[in-house]
């Protein structure tokens, strides 16, 4: 059955079973490989995308449940204010190592920052503990989110 979803502002139509997880539609059918596969069971966060701005594990979201919602992926997150700040902070803090988890980390962190411009450590734990980093970049992820929040504040003061 053909299903149309809106990804990064563009309508895309695919013909797959309705229970096919969004992750595979993005990666294998639309060729958008920035979103990663890590566990397939909502345990690692590597596949995180935004659905109407909410960080969501695409590996367990059936394509037919997406409806008219806006799907945003790592490929387009830099176009949002929070996403751009997070990406910059990630580079400034040299967060990445192997980098494989980082699409998902950045998507979770951008969603956090978009709705909570000044997250506390506890907020960061809540928003980010679903994202595993096997390279253990957590110390820098926390610092980078705080940097991005700081730049938020400075932006607001100007």
């Amino acid at each position: 059955m053909a299903t149309t979803i809106n990804v990064n502002g563009v309508d895309r139509t695919v013909d797959v079973d309705g229970d096919t997880p969004l992750l595979w539609v993005l990666r294998d059918l639309l060729g958008m490989t920035g979103t990663k596969f890590g566990c397939g069971a909502a345990l690692c966060g590597a596949c995180t995308v935004h659905i109407d701005g909410v960080a969501t594990r695409s590996c367990i979201i059936a394509i037919d449940s997406v409806g008219t919602s806006a799907v945003t992926t790592i490929e387009a997150i830099g176009a949002t204010a929070a996403g751009a700040r997070i990406q910059k902070a990630w580079l400034d803090r040299e967060v990445v190592q192997c980098g494989y988890c980082q699409s998902g980390q950045i998507m979770s962190a951008s969603a956090l920052l978009a709705k909570n411009p000044h997250p506390t450590d506890a907020d960061i734990n809540d928003a980010m503990s679903g994202n595993i980093c096997r390279c253990g970049t957590y110390v820098r992820i926390r610092e980078a989110i705080k940097d991005a929040a700081q730049s938020n504040r400075q932006g607001a003061l100007q």
Partner: protein, 732 residues
């Protein structure tokens, strides 16, 4: 892991002294195609030492090219797995060549089919934290050689004395006349200049890049989703497959009912192998759905009843017999007989999975003219050989495209993934990407070995150790992976961290008994041998301090008068970690000290143990002396990373078997430390001009005993069997 040979073990540094590196052995210079300057180098790679050692047969594996457009291109045998090699190695060349780091471009090695036809590749692998140790001298020497030749070319053109010229920022300057010329214009001329006999390397105080934090060159693509890992490769027309391998190691497929799987939309084909079944589909969603619909009956084979307890019991038994002597100093038996106190203990560490974030995958296309492979590998030549063998093709018909690796930790040194992919691809028309589910990845990993250790020590009347006896049993990864490395019952990885201890121990005896677990493959893992040895040695030394009723740091320090670098890192960690300060009840501080991979490292760790026995690692203070620091930011990042990896293993890591099956399957049952559990980490780097030591794996081995020792300080309970989870730490 470590593959240095025993001869290089002595002394403080394990890197080769400069005078061993006669240029004939490792560097050649000539013209590049296109007219630039080409330097060909031989860098030591994991398992490649044998070929490099004879020196007569120069087989380069790294290339530095100064192109006529001024671009400097580096092709090297080390792969980037997150450890920062792609940034740190170019720094070495840029330092001596007097160019900006940005002027250097990296090409994945091996770059093309032409090089495949060349027998240069040997055993090519990244591991053993050896990239910086191996590259330190030759890469700088290559940069300096190229610079001298470029300067000579300019001097010749201007008809001036080369000594009156100077290289700077990708140009040669002649200060007396103010003339300057870019490397780009000199590259072709330089290729015709005689190669200098002698190159003098910069003094550390003149370093411009080395020792200064540099931004990772690979970072931008990794934050915007454009970085391409093995799992992202998608040659035109590729189908996607996933697989089920025999749940019991050594089992076979008895029967397959694939009717329901074939009916799944998007499923194209079911491939039956001897010991696995794969579902080939248009996308992974369909492949997984098809896999779930398969009904497979397995012939479970000889290991159908195997459990972890059987393996542990066999290892324990083995430590009652004698093994191969790894090191003997003095006379342990005699000293033990005269000891005032005798302490004995046994330790066990479990099998561990790698659980790299990127699940196992490999794309293969077997066609009438050959075979093409796409993946991320730490060992390209091994991949090529395995693909050729499986496909039944000569080596030169196999093309391998290497990609970024989403976590290696030793897992990507193995060829099992490529063998599977080629087996499947042989039955599929066109290319096929084989992606393992996380469950397959964890249940069919090649595991960090299980080890069992038996210790005895004798203390004198002051409580100081006068006899140390250690025998341990377990698998030898090297015996399988690199058979010539296993000699007289020993290999350098299994014993690293158990011998050549930093401490002055006058009577010291260590034996290793190799016992391979039935049917279970074992592999390198982050820090392999040391991940086990440092845990047991640093726990046992802590036990001795406790038996002697002495402070664990003071006790260690008293054994270090002959070893100033070790003593200094321990003192620094203790000072920065507030060793002397009191902690509230239920909390404790633990220390560890090690010299492995050519680096000294000490940790002071604070843990909190709840009434229910839950352990939180609060703070880790690390002092490290890793010789000359090339990129301080990478050193810090690697230590942070290694600590998280080791803390995960200490708190949660274990793979167990029952009825021949691995019981863990995904991140719910094989837990990984998360951000809310991550300790604060402080890294203090000791300034040093010694040759660089390895850094990719040291944090992992040092943290485990420090956590166990901190738990002892907090609770009085000594953990002799890892991991912590499941240990009886309840106090209520």
């Amino acid at each position: 892991m470590i593959l240095d040979h025993n001869s290089s073990r002595a002394g403080s540094g394990r890197s080769q002294p400069a005078n061993d590196l006669s240029r004939r052995n490792f560097l050649q210079v000539g013209a590049a195609t296109g007219g630039g300057l080409l330097l060909s180098l031989r860098l030591p790679v994991l398992g490649g030492e044998a070929q490099a050692a004879d020196g007569s047969d120069f087989s380069p594996n790294a290339f530095v090219r100064v192109d006529r457009d001024g671009q400097i291109v580096l092709t090297m045998p080390y792969v980037e797995m997150g450890q920062g090699t792609y940034t740190a190695i170019p720094m070495l060349i840029a330092e001596e060549l007097e160019v900006d780091l940005k002027q250097i471009r990296l090409e994945h090695a091996p770059p093309n089919e032409k090089l495949y036809a060349n027998p240069m590749l040997g055993v090519q692998a990244t591991g053993n934290s050896n990239a910086m140790r191996g590259g330190w001298q030759p890469m700088r020497q290559a940069g300096a050689t190229a610079r001298i030749m470029l300067v000579a070319a300019a001097a010749k053109r201007w008809n001036v004395d080369p000594a009156s010229c100077r290289a700077q920022n990708g140009e040669v300057l002649h200060p007396p006349t103010g003339r300057r010329v870019k490397y780009a214009e000199l590259a072709a001329d330089a290729a015709g200049i005689p190669v200098p006999d002698k190159v003098v390397l910069k003094r550390p105080e003149d370093f411009r890049l080395i020792g200064t934090p540099a931004k990772r060159l690979d970072a931008p693509a990794k934050v915007n989703g454009t970085a391409v890992y093995g799992i992202d490769a998608r040659p035109a027309g590729a189908k996607i497959a996933t697989l089920a391998q025999s749940p019991v190691f050594g089992g076979r497929v008895k029967s397959v009912d694939d009717k329901a799987a074939r009916a799944v939309k998007g499923v194209r084909q079911i491939v039956r192998l001897d010991d696995a079944v794969a579902v080939v589909a248009d996308h992974m969603g369909a492949a997984k759905k098809g896999l779930a619909a398969l009904v497979i009956e397995w012939d479970e084979g000889p290991h159908a009843k195997l459990g972890t307890a059987d393996i542990a019991a066999e290892l324990e038994q083995a430590t009652l017999k004698t093994g191969a002597v790894a090191q003997n100093i003095g006379d342990v038996d005699k000293a033990m007989a005269g000891a005032a106190t005798k302490i004995e203990a046994t330790y066990e560490v479990p099998f561990l999975a790698h659980a790299t974030m990127e699940p196992m995958n490999c794309t293969a296309h077997v066609h009438k003219d050959g075979c093409e492979i796409w993946l991320g590998s730490q060992a390209m030549a091994r991949i090529q050989a395995a693909a050729a063998k499986t496909a039944g093709l000569p080596l030169d018909r196999v093309v391998v495209h290497n990609h970024l690796i989403g976590g290696g930790f030793g897992r990507r040194l193995e060829a099992d993934g490529v063998i599977r992919a080629v087996e499947i691809a042989k039955q599929v028309e066109g290319p096929v990407k084989v992606v393992w589910t996380r469950e397959e990845d964890i249940q069919h990993d090649i595991y960090r070995p299980y080890w069992f250790d038996r210790f005895a020590a004798g203390l004198d009347e002051k409580g100081m150790p006068i006899a140390w006896n250690h025998r341990f049993a377990g698998s030898s990864v090297i015996a399988r992976w690199l058979p010539p490395g296993f000699k007289n019952g020993l290999d350098p990885d299994s014993t690293e961290g158990a011998i050549d201890l930093v401490y002055a121990l006058p009577n010291f005896h260590v034996e290793f008994v190799r016992v391979e677990p039935p049917g279970i493959p074992t592999a390198f893992w982050r820090s392999v041998g040391p991940s086990h040895n440092v845990f047991v040695v640093e726990s046992f030394i802590d036990e001795l301090a406790a038996a002697a009723r002495q402070d664990p740091v003071a006790y260690r320090s008293a054994l270090l008068d002959h070893n100033p670098r070790a003593k200094a890192v321990l003192a620094l960690a203790a000072e920065k970690g507030g060793w002397a300060k009191k902690l509230p009840k239920g909390s404790g501080r633990g220390a560890s000290l090690q010299f492995v991979f050519g680096s000294y490292e000490a940790h002071v760790v604070e843990v909190e143990v709840s009434k229910d026995g839950d352990v939180r690692v609060r703070r880790v203070v690390c002092a490290v002396d890793c010789g000359t620091v090339v990129n301080p930011d990478t050193v810090q990042a690697q230590i942070q990373s290694g600590i998280m990896f080791g803390a995960t293993a200490a708190l949660y890591g274990k793979i167990t078997l029952e009825n021949g099956r691995v019981q863990q399957s995904n991140f719910d049952t094989y837990q990984v430390l998360r951000i809310n559990e991550a300790p604060a980490i402080e890294v203090h780097i000791v300034k040093s001009s010694e040759p660089p030591g390895g850094m990719g794996e040291t944090g992992t081995s040092a943290i485990v005993p420090a956590i166990a020792n901190a738990i002892f300080a907090a609770t009085g309970k000594r953990l002799r069997k890892m991991p912590v989870a499941g240990s009886q730490l309840k106090s209520g």
